[in-house]
């Protein structure tokens, strides 16, 4: 395979954003008939590299050649015309159109009187069949499909447009194991037809199952290119994070508290649910305890958290705090009950981008106090100093707009914002997603410390290892339903949680 010329070659690619060099002289080579995976921690520059290739971002320096010719694409459409298609992590389709229209959009079969819909839909059906989706009706609205199937429909699009290079940017994060297998089958078929596939994923198992070649990036820099069978997992991880493996071991310890100690209840959910979102759920939240929510994306873990924190409204059931039923219809009602919530979507539901770190930190305290009693500059400075120091926010400049901070530091400010309100229940939805390893472990430490001080914490993460490591108790959810509550201990690990779900399914 390596004997052929690469279909895409990128050398010395540099991309700069205001104040940041996102990519620094990075190279990448894609050969036809090969699956090439880009590996790297969040923020390593994987997505940036892809967007540099397809022309979404301007390349500040470097050379891109496609089939031997020096090229700069002006955008995804331009790249697509040269046979480079991209499927993104977030499904990028139009929910207002039918499945078939989405598959064929821009490639509709045309006749003398414009688009011939019957033929167009027939072709869509054929393409879907190739992906094992022959049971889908191309005329049905796309919105009737689950996110996972929509992702496969997005891949079907790229088959239609005679792709030479298929880029899959974390396509598996919303797929389950069976769907991943279907996807891999498709990838192998395409690879054998001579398509070059660029794959991004951080699931190591998947990477080893499918890829022929790996390129590792770290902090926007090129670390190395390897054939998959030549590098083992530990070496790979070490390359990705630039640390020795032994230094990671320290993070693997579980919560070392007496699991049998009696706990005082903070809040209790009695049949709390919302129609079509989460079935009635009964659950107790204890003081000084980290309660983990385990489950897939869409299992109802986020939805339940949002009901507890007033972000969404429950249709049924009651929530009681200290034995008294309370009504949490809006976030501010929950905040008044000393409940704090950080959303999984930091950019859209967490930070107030244009405001400074100081204003972001103070805002929740201010909202709680009401608009009339302004938090004085002195109080604000005191809060800012406390939390910047305690959470190690870098840069420690309270006047900088929060949007100019890295993801990890934004997350710390958001956490600080809620700690400043002195909550008794802290609900953290994916607080460690998309942030670097250092910030991740710092946030984990803060969570454990808070629980140690008697706070009740709900911790949600799609990384089950993290849930197992931090939680005292684990609520397992599936299909909008709480299916099990596990007390964490030596016999609980990722495997047993997976098994719990599988058994429930069999029953």
């Amino acid at each position: 395979m390596a004997g052929k010329e690469p279909v895409v070659e990128m050398t010395g690619i540099t991309v700069e954003f205001p104040g940041v060099r996102a990519l620094d002289s990075v190279g990448l080579r894609l050969w036809p008939g090969e699956v090439h995976t880009i590996m790297g921690e969040n923020g390593a520059g994987k997505s940036t590299l892809i967007k540099a290739l397809t022309g979404v971002y301007k390349v500040d320096a470097g050379e891109i050649t496609v089939a031997g010719e020096s090229t700069r694409f002006t955008g995804p459409g331009d790249a697509q015309r040269s046979g480079i298609s991209t499927v993104y992590q977030e499904v990028n389709l139009c929910e207002n159109l039918s499945i078939g229209e989405n598959v064929m959009l821009g490639n509709e079969t045309r006749g003398a009187f414009g688009i011939r819909w019957a033929k167009t839909h027939d072709r869509a059906r054929l393409v879907l069949q190739e992906l094992g989706l022959g049971h889908l009706d191309p005329r049905a609205p796309l919105s009737s499909l689950s996110l996972a199937v929509q992702q496969l429909v997005a891949i079907a699009r790229s088959i239609v447009s005679n792709t030479r290079v298929l880029i899959l940017d974390e396509p598996t994060s919303s797929l389950d194991a069976n769907e991943v297998e279907v996807l891999f089958g498709v990838m192998r078929t395409l690879r054998d037809k001579g398509v070059a596939i660029l794959f991004v994923s951080h699931f190591l198992d998947q990477v080893y199952a499918i890829s022929d070649r790996l390129t590792v990036l770290r902090n926007g820099q090129f670390v190395g290119e390897y054939l998959t069978h030549e590098i083992n997992r530990s070496e790979l991880i070490a390359q990705m994070i630039g640390k020795d493996l032994s230094s990671l071991k320290g993070m693997e310890h579980a919560r070392e508290l007496d699991q049998n100690a009696p706990r005082e209840e903070f809040a209790r959910l009695d049949g709390v649910g919302a129609k079509g979102i989460i079935e009635p759920t009964t659950l107790t939240l204890n003081k000084g305890e980290v309660l983990g929510f385990a489950g897939l994306l869409g299992s109802g873990r986020t939805e339940l958290a949002r009901l507890i924190t007033g972000a969404d409204r429950a249709d049924t059931g009651t929530i009681s705090i200290g034995g008294k039923p309370v009504r949490l219809r809006t976030p501010d009602a929950a905040i008044a009950q000393r409940i704090a919530f950080t959303s999984e979507n930091r950019r859209d539901e967490g930070i107030i981008g244009d405001l400074s770190v100081r204003e972001n930190l103070v805002l929740a305290v201010q909202a709680k106090r009401g608009w009339l009693r302004r938090v004085s500059r002195k109080e604000a400075d005191a809060l800012v100093e406390t939390y910047i120091k305690r959470l190690n926010v870098r840069p420690a400049d309270p006047d900088r707009p929060i949007k100019n901070l890295s993801g990890g530091n934004q997350q710390k400010v958001v956490l600080g914002r809620w700690l400043a309100t002195e909550p008794e229940l802290l609900v953290l939805d994916e607080p460690t997603r998309g942030i670097d390893v250092g910030a991740k472990s710092e946030i984990s430490e803060v969570i454990l410390e808070l629980a140690g001080k008697g706070l009740s914490v709900v911790f949600i993460s799609s990384e089950l290892e993290e849930v197992v490591r931090l939680s005292d108790r684990i609520a397992v959810l599936r299909d909008h339903r709480l299916i099990a509550e596990l007390v964490n201990g030596p016999d609980v690990d990722v495997e047993s949680i997976v098994k719990t779900i599988a058994e429930e399914e069999a029953a």
Binding site: G77, N96, E101, S161, D479
Partner: protein, 344 residues
């Protein structure tokens, strides 16, 4: 690293949702057709002489400019945009046309230039929206005032089209069915132009890639771009179409009234938006039909007709009623949208 679990349920399409979804989509359109029919029936019962050839003919003749405007507005609203400039553009276009016609220029030059004046404003809106990222309502609001200002520089008093101008021939009635007395079914060249515009728009939206891109942009603009569709070009075209059709509407309107004025078309953007919204096109974009907008324009035309027949409603109240109807339909859309979200 993480572990992937198996999601137990089959993830195939759930057809149960489909039927209800599409019914919900069609609800505003059904409502508008029902309202139009009700207006006919009520009009016949209360004032009479509704179901007859000349009333129907007049309804179409008088609504043709609004239907043309509404067709252009449909394109813009389908992409999730808005064009507030159409009313003022008509004033500039029709003043340009009348001045040129009265200067003795041949109609084959006058009409294209009148239309192109509209295209020019559409182009400017489109460039502002697409290339400079100005919010559509701001860009077109600026164009609205720019056009109105230019119209006021051109003339502040009504300008009459010469009586012998061939411009007027566009409104010469053509008898289709000769009824008793004056009760004839007639069309004018303007009505035929309007019908051609509607047919062309339906075909473009349904049967061309451009049309599908319009819907895709309204559904998810970002996705449309990432799917490689020509978003920028399409958005530019949409405003260009709206401006051009405003120019055409100016031709149609001027040929009928024979008068151009700097205050022509004040508030017509609201009528056009109302027609589109009443016809079932979502203000947020992505859903809707041209034929719906035609129904919407007829509802407004019928409303004017009924108000005239009634005679007790002060003419000042017309805008209040149009505004009220628009508001009701926007609220209806809001309900539909919320229902949809809840189901998703």
């Amino acid at each position: 690293m993480s572990t992937t679990l198996t999601r137990p349920r089959p993830t195939a399409a759930q057809p149960a949702r489909r039927g209800r979804g599409s019914l919900l989509d069609a609800l505003p359109t059904i409502a508008s057709v029902a309202i139009l029919l009700l207006m006919f029936v009520y009009g016949e019962a209360a004032y009479g002489k509704i179901f007859q050839y000349n009333t129907i003919s007049n309804l179409f003749i008088n609504s043709s400019y609004l239907i043309i405007l509404a067709v252009g507005m449909t394109f813009v609203i389908l992409t999730g945009g808005i064009d507030l400039s159409v009313g003022s553009v008509i004033a500039v276009s029709s003043l340009t046309g009348v001045f040129m016609a009265n200067a003795g220029l041949p109609v084959v030059i006058v009409i294209p230039v009148t239309i192109l004046v509209g295209s020019l404003f559409g182009l400017m809106s489109g460039v502002l929206v697409q290339y400079f990222n100005v919010q559509p309502f701001i860009a077109t609001l600026a164009m609205m005032f720019l056009a109105r200002g230019i119209a006021s520089i051109m003339a502040t008093t009504p300008v009459r089209l010469d009586d012998d101008s061939s411009f007027r021939s566009l409104s010469e009635p053509i008898k289709l069915i000769d009824g008793p007395k004056t009760n004839d079914l007639v069309v004018t060249p303007s009505v035929i132009i309007m019908i051609l515009v509607v047919v062309a728009a339906v075909l473009v939206l349904k049967r061309t890639r451009f049309g599908r891109t319009v819907y895709a942009i309204g559904g998810a603009e970002n996705s449309a771009g990432l799917m490689g569709l020509p978003v920028a070009r399409t958005k530019l075209w949409v405003y260009l179409i709206s401006g051009t059709l405003a120019g055409l509407a100016a031709v149609v309107y001027t040929s009928r009234t024979g008068i151009a004025q700097n205050v022509t078309g004040v508030g017509w953007e609201l009528d056009a938006i109302a027609a589109v919204v009443i016809g079932g096109t979502m203000l947020t974009g992505g859903y809707g039909f041209v034929l719906g907008s035609v129904v919407g324009a007829l509802v407004i035309g019928m409303m004017t007709l009924l108000i005239t027949r009634d005679g007790t409603v002060p003419p000042e109240a017309t805008t209040i009623i149009t505004g009220g109807i628009l508001l009701v339909f926007v609220l209806l859309q809001r309900v539909v949208l919320l229902r949809k979200k809840k189901k998703a």
